[in-house]
């Protein structure tokens, strides 16, 4: 699964290019982290 995520990310990053793509991923990561934390006891 880790390899799959890595290959997918690599393909997408090469396709889009640029730091804007990484910034969008940062924002998405912030939202995912916040939502994942709802599962904490």
């Amino acid at each position: 699964m880790a390899v799959g995520f890595g290959v997918l990310a690599s393909l997408v990053a090469r396709g889009f290019g640029g730091s804007g793509w990484v910034f969008a991923l940062l924002v998405l990561s912030a939202a995912v982290a916040a939502i994942a934390q709802q599962t904490l006891p």
Binding site: A2, G6, L8, A9, S10, A13, G18, A36
Partner: protein, 187 residues
């Protein structure tokens, strides 16, 4: 939030909670972004490259089933805040959870929020990253409350049963971000 719903006016409490949480995120991100701007971009890219490798390593370990406990204050927000009144509780809890660092973190992906806000090196972009975290965290709690009210069942138990899935999702996102960053910076 759903532990302190006695009485009316939950909409005002929820609104205060969301505003406080988002405000804490925006302010934290702005401060971190401003601090990051003090460093030269080459240094930030270098640090970001190392962190990208670390993200791939930690996320990969998690995906392979090896749980690496994140550094954190393993505690909830203080229960005594409930006694300060609903609006004060909503404000304090919102500020604490929107900032996030002083309570249970649980996922390595959380570290992307402050580190990303710092490394973007821009007040507004840092505020967007951290503000997204604060807004998402508080809105998620409000939606959980609404689900609990609508379906007359405690959604928190249902959510806690999905902790394992959340770990996989967070680890996958960490690897994805790490690889994308590594590709963009040209490692």
């Amino acid at each position: 939030m759903y532990r302190n719903q006695a009485g009316r006016g939950w909409i005002s409490k929820a609104s205060v909670y969301v505003l406080a949480s988002t405000g804490a995120g925006l302010a934290s991100g702005a401060v971190l972004g401003a601090a990051g701007a003090l460093l030269p971009v080459e240094l930030r890219v270098g640090v970001g490259s190392m962190l990208a490798v670390a993200a791939i390593a930690v996320g990969g370990l998690e995906l392979f089933g090896r749980h690496v406990q994140p550094l954190q204050f393993d505690c909830e927000t203080p229960q005594r805040w409930v006694n300060r009144g609903p609006l004060r509780w909503a404000t304090r809890n919102g500020l604490a959870l929107g900032f996030g660092a002083t309570s249970r973190i649980g996922f390595w992906l959380w570290y992307v929020v402050p580190l990303g806000s710092f490394l973007v090196g821009d007040v507004r972009l840092g505020a967007v990253v951290y503000g997204t975290y604060g807004l998402s965290r508080s809105l998620a709690a409000v939606f959980i409350l609404l689900g609990t009210l609508r379906y007359k069942t405690d959604a928190s138990d249902w959510l806690m049963e999905r902790y394992g899935q959340a770990r996989t999702l967070a680890a996958g996102q960490l690897v994805f971000l790490g690889v994308a960053t590594a590709v963009v910076v040209g490692i």
